[in-house]
């Protein structure tokens, strides 16, 4: 596959994630609204919110430093890089060598850390509290994320995400194994915690005692807030796409032909939409866990990830 085709494919991934992420959030909110008996604001509402926020005048609180202003840019930039390198639509990204498991997780964590620093930088009680909670959760989630993907990578012998996806495409029967069951459970919990969904964090709350992510970004307004919201939506999309790619990679293009890319794009959108709808529908039945119970949930997912790694060495 030519380099130009690879660049085009990576650009397509970035475009799909960038344009599709707010729509995904819209779909999830709409599903939730319908299940709760409300009409809902429509699928396009997150985009309309972003447009409204972008038109506002940029404001930053008195006493904040550059950390506060740079954080949204770091968050967006790291998420876009991950969207370009992770095999969502094609396995033939020109930045293939960057699509290493550890590099991707580190990039995503970098964005989370930047936002936590910004939360502390505001000097308000809420910002510091949100940052401290977010770091507690991130510190518990990262090992699980790494272990779960490591378990899937053992049979491939490489931590390169493209190679993992390609080998699963070559030998689809391998997906049915205890390793994938355990790793998928662990990764699902880790993704829910990392993207701040119920039962770990409630994305629609602004109650002082319960918010985690919202507390960190409380001081943002206007275009900065738009960037943060957009990046959070993209993180969710990338994580769901990564999950689908690892455990149900069918449809991902391995060649650079336009037809294969088009099919892969449609399949990617369907898979992410299905996962998103399932997540939103599940959230209707869940209440937020007490913050002190969250480590319990994350310890559980860590055990699953560890068992997956152990099983991948002993059973395979």
């Amino acid at each position: 596959m030519s380099v130009i085709g690879g660049v085009a494919a990576a650009g397509l991934q970035v475009l799909a994630v960038g344009a599709g992420a707010p729509l995904l959030i819209g779909v999830m909110r709409q599903v939730r609204a319908r299940l709760e008996g409300r009409v809902g604001a429509g699928v396009g509402q997150p985009w309309r919110d972003l447009r409204k926020l972008m038109r506002k005048e940029p404001l930053s609180p008195r006493g904040t430093s550059e950390v506060f202003r740079i954080a949204p840019l770091i968050l967006v930039a790291t998420t876009l890089i991950v969207a370009a390198v992770v095999p969502l639509v094609t396995t033939a990204s020109p930045l293939d060598s960057v699509a290493d498991l550890f590099a991707v997780v580190a990039l995503l964590t970098l964005g989370a850390v930047a936002l936590a620093l910004a939360g502390i930088d505001t000097g308000t009680a809420f910002g510091g509290m949100g940052a401290s909670r977010e770091m507690t959760i991130v510190a518990l989630v990262e090992p699980t994320l790494l272990l779960a993907v490591l378990a899937v990578s053992v049979r491939v012998g490489s931590t390169n995400l493209s190679q993992i996806v390609t080998s699963t495409l070559d030998d689809p029967a391998r997906v049915i194994s205890p390793v994938t069951v355990l790793a998928a459970t662990a990764l699902a919990v880790a993704i829910i915690a990392e993207t701040g969904r119920l039962p770990v964090d409630n994305p629609s709350t602004h109650l002082e005692l319960t918010m985690v992510h919202e507390a960190m970004v409380l001081e943002y307004a206007g275009p900065d807030l738009a960037l943060v919201e957009w990046a959070s939506a993209m993180r969710l999309t990338v994580f769901l796409g990564l999950f689908a790619g690892l455990f149900a990679p069918w449809g991902i293009a391995t060649s650079g032909s336009v037809a294969a890319l088009a099919v892969a794009l449609v399949v990617f959108m369907i898979k992410v939409a299905v996962l998103g709808v399932a997540l939103a529908a599940g959230e209707v039945f869940l209440a937020k866990l007490r913050l002190f119970r969250v480590p319990e949930l994350l310890a559980g997912s860590f055990v699953f990830a560890l068992l997956a790694v152990v099983a991948s060495f002993f059973l395979a």
Binding site: A173, R174, I176, S177, P178, V179, V181, L182, T185, P295, E296, A299, G300, F302, V303, F304, L306, L307, V310, A311, F314, L315
Partner: protein, 218 residues
């Protein structure tokens, strides 16, 4: 053994292990009992895959028997021992849940180390799954010693038995049907006795928290 049946066997083993870990994770007794029933289904799945592989009618009967006993009858019996009203939860386990989950991880590693000599005796795809059975035995023992409520202790006892049955299925080509039948009946009787005890305890003391029984009452 064909590739696909090995994978189905491992999948059943994975579900078997998963349900055991979930038993440690959950607090609601009703959910724990449901998980135990699911584990029974996974265990009968292991037996069924082996039955198809060995083409033996005896194994098939065994699979059906395990399914009936461990997925339907035993959960039903334990459920009847639950208090009809009030919070049916494991409120204060001796070891908190996060720590017990980490203990489960250590137990799993221990089981894998301990099972290696057994696996080395005749390495085959079937015997390589023995550590899963041993892990469930150890998890059951752990639940038995760290939980306070009578119902979850019974579930711990039953987890041990499930693990023993799984190890027996995986290590031996044939378990005589009579032996398995005897063991199963034994377990059923033990659980019936324990259920009776739990109901009597509740009627006398108003609670099935076993630690409270060591204190004097007037």
């Amino acid at each position: 053994m064909t590739d696909i049946s090995v994978q189905l066997l491992y999948l059943a083993c994975g579900a078997f292990l998963l349900t055991a870990v979930l038993v440690v994770w959950r607090r609601e007794l009703a959910a724990i009992i449901r998980l135990f029933a699911l584990q029974g289904v996974a265990l009968s799945g292991i037996a069924a895959v082996l039955a198809v592989h060995e083409r033996s009618l005896e194994h098939a009967v065994l699979a059906a028997g395990i399914c009936a006993l461990r997925a339907v009858i035993l959960p039903q019996v334990v459920r009847r021992a639950l208090p009809p009203t009030g919070p049916a939860r494991e409120t204060r386990p001796l070891v908190n849940v996060a720590a017990s989950l980490l203990a489960v991880a250590v137990l799993a590693l221990l089981a894998y180390v301990v099972a290696q000599p057994l696996v080395q005796l005749s390495p085959s795809p079937v015997t390589r799954a023995i550590p899963v059975g041993l892990t469930v035995v150890l998890i059951g023992f752990f639940v038995l010693v760290t939980r306070r409520r009578a119902a979850s202790q019974v579930i711990g006892f039953l987890l041990i038995d499930n693990g023993v049955t799984a190890v027996a299925l995986l290590t031996t080509a044939e378990i005589p049907l009579v032996v398995e039948l005897g063991v199963s009946l034994d377990v059923l009787l033990a659980v019936l006795v324990l259920q009776l005890l739990a109901v009597r305890m509740r009627a006398t003391f108003g609670s099935t928290e076993l630690d409270e029984l060591t204190e004097l009452r007037d």
